[in-house]
Every structure is written in structure tokens, then in C-alpha cells.
């Protein structure tokens, strides 16, 4: 079914607020998903993968800094979704890059890492160049890389299938390179063990966005129903007393 970008954002905000995301965090989560979807990068598919687990995150420890120096840090997300954990890592990358010229942030135990794209794109918009890399999968390993130049509005994003044998930890790790002094670009090297699945240039991502602005978003009705159903958790039951709180006749 067809919905608008604003409807999707509002419904996602309610959904994440309902499962206990903090103020600021539920807006971020909604924006991350919407950003992917409106730029043609399958944000809703990623959300479908994340949905069964989003309520469990409130029980997990908050993001912690395992190691830190002036140009690098290692972050543990304690198996949270990137939706409620990755923003802090990107913030740290940006702050260190501005101070030291370049920074490397390694993130461990983070799910749904693709949602990092919006935060990285925002860095580019603010004049910080970023590149990031991660792997996913157990039997079949996929590689993901994204990069954006300083001052650019859209990133590039590449995803490919490989013959690599993955470590379990790889499935939840992510490396972010950030610089205020050099422009970082990323492409996956092309050995024989690698087949590109998707390769989005900044121009293609921009074109997708323009289409979404013009036409809105297509969403599976069942997914739409689920998002809204979860979101009803923020609504207060109706009653005569409650009707009086609206003040109308």
C-alpha cells in the first residue's frame, strides 16, 4: 500500500516510543529507517528483520566504551540494534576526527548495522568525510561498505556476496573511519571470491530520493499494520474523564 514519508516517520516514532526508546532516540530510529527507505536502500526490509527484537533491547546494558585514545575508540553495543546504539559511536568518531584530523571507531555487538547510513551521511553534510565497512551472514558472508566525501549530500553504498569464512563476531562488528582532513572513498576490491549485489552511487541514491518525494512510499500492509499496532502502546485508553481532557463540547 501507499503511504507518505511523514506517515511512516510518525508511525515509526510511535512504534519505538512504545517499546521504550528514549526521547531523541525514537526520532533517530524513525529517521534512520525512513532515510534508507526513501533513498531506495530497503529500510523497511531491514526493519522487518529488526522488529522481532526491538523490545528486548530495553533490557540490555547501554553502549559502553571499551577502549579510547585521542584518535580511536572501541564501542560495545551489547547486542543492541543500531537503531538505539550506533548514533553515539558516530558522534564519537566525528568529535575525534575534528580534534585529531582522523579517527577510527570499532563497534562490536551491534545488530542492523545498515541503519548507520543516515548518521554517516549527516557527517558528510557537516563537512566530515566518512567510510565504513562491515560483514554479515554465517553461511554466506556479505560485505558492506559506505563512503561520503566532506560536504557531500549523498553517500555511495556497495553490498556484495563473498566466499569468505566469517567469524561469529564479524556479524555484529562495524568499523568507521572518519576524517576532517582527507576525503575518504570506498569501493570493494574485486577478487574472484566476490560478487556485487548492489552498487549505489550518490547520484542513484539522490534519484531514488526524488522519486520518493514525488510518489511517497510503498509498504507491505501487514508490516504497516504491525508498526501501527506496536505504536498503540503510547495511546491512553478512552474514557469519559479522558474525553473531558480534550476540552471540546
Amino acid at each position: 500500500m501507499h503511504i507518505s514519508m511523514n506517515e511512516l516517520k510518525a508511525a515509526l516514532r510511535r512504534c519505538f516510543e512504545s517499546v521504550g526508546y528514549f526521547v531523541g532516540n525514537y526520532e533517530d530510529a524513525a529517521n534512520m529507517i525512513l532515510w534508507l527507505e526513501k533513498h531506495g536502500l530497503a529500510g523497511l526490509s531491514e526493519l522487518e528483520r529488526a522488529l522481532p527484537y526491538i523490545e528486548a533491547d530495553s533490557e540490555k546494558p547501554h553502549v559502553s566504551v571499551v577502549y579510547e585514545d585521542s584518535i580511536s575508540a572501541t564501542i560495545d553495543c551489547h547486542n543492541r540494534s543500531a537503531l538505539n546504539s550506533i548514533a553515539a559511536a558516530v558522534d564519537l568518531a566525528q568529535a575525534k576526527a575534528l580534534k585529531s584530523g582522523i579517527s577510527t571507531i570499532t563497534v562490536h555487538n551491534c545488530h542492523n548495522r545498515k541503519f548507520v547510513l543516515k548518521a554517516l551521511t549527516d557527517c558528510g553534510r557537516r563537512g566530515i568525510s566518512v567510510a565504513a565497512y562491515w560483514r554479515n551472514g554465517s553461511n554466506s558472508i556479505t560485505e558492506h561498505t559506505v563512503a561520503i566525501g566532506s560536504g557531500d549530500r549523498y553517500p555511495s553504498y556497495i553490498e556484495s556476496e563473498t566466499d569468505l569464512v566469517g567469524e561469529d563476531a564479524d556479524r555484529r562488528s562495524l568499523t568507521i573511519l572518519c576524517s576532517s582532513r582527507i576525503n575518504l572513498a570506498a569501493s570493494l576490491q574485486a577478487p574472484v571470491d566476490h560478487a556485487t549485489l548492489v552498487n549505489f552511487s550518490p547520484r542513484a541514491i539522490e534519484a531514488n530520493k526524488k522519486r520518493s518525494i514525488d510518489r511517497g512510499i510503498e509498504i507491505n500492509p501487514d508490516l504497516w499494520k504491525r508498526i501501527n499496532q506496536i505504536g498503540t502502546g503510547i495511546l491512553v485508553a478512552n474514557s469519559e474523564r479522558s474525553r473531558a481532557d480534550a476540552g471540546g463540547k
Binding site: 528514549f22 566504551v65 479522558s242
Partner: protein
Amino acid sequence: MSTSVAIETALRGDRALDLRPANQVMNLERLGAMHQNRLSFMRTLVRHLMREQWDIAPRKMELDKDGYGTVIYRIDAPHGRFDFVIFSNFLSSESRNDRVIATEWDITMALVEGEIDDLYLERLRQNVPKQEAGRVDSRVFVLSRANRSARNFDYVVDQLARGQQPEIDRIAKVGYLYRTTAVYGSGKLGMADWEKVATKFPDFARPFTAEMFVCFMLRSFSLFQAEHIAKARSPETFQPMKSEIKRYFGIGNSTGLGMAPYLLNHPQLISRWVEMRELGLARVRKFGIIDNHIRSRFSELLKRSIEHTKETTTEDQRQTHSNHVMVAELEQLERQFAPSFADWEELIQWTEQQCSLQTQELLVSLLLELYPDLVDNLENYQRTDEALDLDPTMPLAELKSLIECVYQWALAIDFSAEGARETCWYRSEEKMEPRLGSIANEEAKDKQMALGVGYAVQKCYQQINIYLEEHPDHSTARFMVAQPKLRGIVRRIQAMSKGVYGDIQANLLDRNVLPMHLLRCKLAFFGVSKFDPRSRLWVRNTMFQGAPLLEEIGQPFSDDWFMPLAPKV
């Protein structure tokens, strides 16, 4: 005089004009005392309609003798073609309900990109009358509905059918035939997002222009429909309404609590609108020449404002009292200054020392009204980027200083005082309608909306102080890792501190908070008048009263319908 760089230079920095300070302007009670002015969105829209000669005419008019049926207006604006569709259906008086939870209305409407064919019209017919229960696509960019002011409507039709004009005294009490109860845009129900409207439809790219246009068209249709029914009823005796009486009809609006959260959820936009109004005022104070023409015009507008307020009817005691006080103060202003005054500072200071907020803010509107050359182009700068961006690089110590400077008002509130945190804003399961309750309602308290900005700032400030004792050199980014719960308020503080005016300065959790102030503030920016509060939570008002008529597009236009008076016929 105005590029966006010039605007920014005038707002802040070495060459900034003298703007009224934030602690004065952003006071909630003062915002709630605002009046319409020439930068209000309705005024801006009408200037463009008239001066750009928008070509607006019905291309489908299928109404039965009782005014029920389908109408399509074709709109040729400078940059695009649009269709405005109206469905008029029978509604019994028992079913008529102005609340957002209503399910039927006298009229439902949609503004659509391009020309619609019969197939698309049928899709609209299946959905537009259902409003929130229907769906539309991204060709639609405004959806609305309206109910008749039944007694007024029937009276006007009777009079016209008998060949008589509606009595002015009667219209002065209820100056409209229809009331809107919601005007939706910005992606609701599947329609076009604001991003599409802002980038693809330059004619509607200023905030709420499309929504105001729909209300203007509703007004036009309401007048047409009344005449249509009267003529069908008694073709031999029917007389059309005189133009000066038609102009006195506006559109009623019923606005409730649903509008209030908007001001807190779009703080940068609200702050921008305030900036433009205050910049207009600052230009007038600095550059406004006072000659005989201006003195004469000021005197005329002052008299008109007095008369307009005397003609305003409301049953709300507080508003009635405020109106009486304002009339008395304006009459005193007239006696004291109208003969001669040297500069505007004299009057402004006098009102600030002697007068109520409503009078002070009316003077602001009057001053803006006098100088179109200094003010009107600010209508092009009402939009802003609404990204509440976190600055992770800001040293935490600097964030602390920022709060002390910009949010002094929040730090000064005693949240431990009796009733200081008694109110909670929540959403009902009934159409997600915003409501205002007490924390005594446990469920409402647990699910309350995050509108208590002052309280959140104070709590954040306390946490920053504790953290800084251990980590004095840490950045905001590092603090965010330790305190993820504060992400929302930290970025709001940082983002809002970049503007001149920042957040609305009020404790919205207080037991005695008056949401009416928020509603009136936004409605004043829209351009409404004749505020008629029905409780502390909802208000009736009138839109486009005194505005030119649709059929007057193409004729001489003076842009002088501020504070319109009842016609003398």
C-alpha cells in the same frame, strides 16, 4: 534589501537590528496575546492571489437544489495547474460534530495536483468524505472538511430567497456560514509530503499556504452555495448578496488541543516565524518615517481596531474582559498620541509600561501594517531547515554555559513547587487525539508526551554538572555515550540556541498552564481574528473575514483588510 544573507545579518551579529529580547517575546502569555498582521499567512496568500491574478473558476458544478453534490474548481496559478474538489453531502444536525473524532461532515474537500479525470474523481469520492478513515495518494496535498453554522446558514438562505440582505447585526455575531475543524497537509492519510509541495509547487511553497488557500476556497464556495440554494428555492424573489456583505463573511474555525503540540514539536519553525515578525518590527522602529500620511493612517487603523474589537463577540469571560481592557487602552492611546508623536519608541514604551499584553501586541501589528515596503518581503523567509542536529564536538562545559545563557528561564522554575508538574499531555486511543490531563491518571502519566521542555532542560543541566565534576574536559559526544537518555534534550538545546528566539518560555507541566496561548499564537500567524475561547483547551475564530472575494481577482486591490468592520448598508 533582502537576501537570506541580509536577513541573517539583520538578525544577529555586529550589524543586527535591535530586536525585542527572547525573554520578552517568547513569554507564553505574550505569545497568546498576539494578533494577525500583514505577514500572517492568509494576508500573504491573498496578496499573491490578487497581484498574480490566479485564474480560478468552477469547471464542474453539479449541485442539486439543496446544494448537495460535487464541485471542481480549476486553479491556474503562475507555476502550476490544480483542481480543488468539494463534496457536499446531507448531514443531520444531530450528527454534526466539530470534534476531531467526528466521522461525517457537511462538506469535505481536497486540493489536487494537475487536472483530475472521472476515474480519479471517483477515487476521491470513495475516500475524501471519509477523511481520517480514507486514504489518498500523493497528487492530493490538502484534505479538509467543514460543517455548517446551521442557524446562520439557514437564515442567510431565507433572506436571499425573500429578496432581502442578511442583517449585519446578525452576521457580526457569527461571521461565517461554515466552520472548518481540520485542514490536513504534509503527508497525512497518504497525501503529498511537505517536501514535495515545497519543491514542486512554488505557488504553495510558503508554510501553510495550501491549507490557507483551501479555507479561502471554502469561503468562496459557502457564499456561492447559499445563493445557489436561495435561487433554486425562490427564483422570482431571489436577490444575490451585496459584495460588501459577502466580504464580511469569513470561514469559522474550531481549533482544539490537537494544534498545541505542533508548536513544541516544530520549535525551529515557530522561532523562525517569530524572528520575521520581530525583524519587521525592528525595521519599522529603525527606518519607519513618520509623516502626515503615516499619522493619518495610524489613526485610521487605531480607530478600526477599536471598532473591530467592540464588534467581537465571545462568551468567554476572560477574553471579554481582555477585549474591554484593550479597547479602553487603545482609546487612551488615541487621546494621548494621535494628535502628534515624534517616534514609535514613545508609543511602544508607553504601551509596555501602561497596557495589557494584548494591547502591546496589537500595536506591533499596527506598526507592521503601516509599512508594507519594510515588511512584506519577509514573507519569503518563513521557512527553515527543521533538523535538530546534535553537535557532538561541543565541549560539555560549553554546553553547560549555553544552558545558563539561553535557558535561564528553565533553570529558574521551581519544579518542586505544588502543582508545578501536575499536568501531562497525552494521546488518546480515540483518533490519537491530544489531551491534557493530570498525573493522577497513572496511564496518562506513564504515556505522556515529551512537551515539558523546561523540566527536561533542568534535569539535563543537573546531570551535566555531576558528570563535569569527574570529566571536565569531555565532549558532548562522550557525555552522550554515558547519558543516552538525554540525547533528545541536548540536541534541542544546541539547535535552538542557534536561533534568536529559541524555545517558548513556559512550564507546560504546570497545573495552571493555559494551552489557549499556544493555540492563539499559531492561529495569529495563520491570520485569524475574532478569538472566541470555548474552554481553556479550544477556541473558535474567524478566517478571511474582510478579504477580497474570488470574483474580485483581477480588480484593483488595496491589501487593506486588517481588522475588518461590519459594513454599513
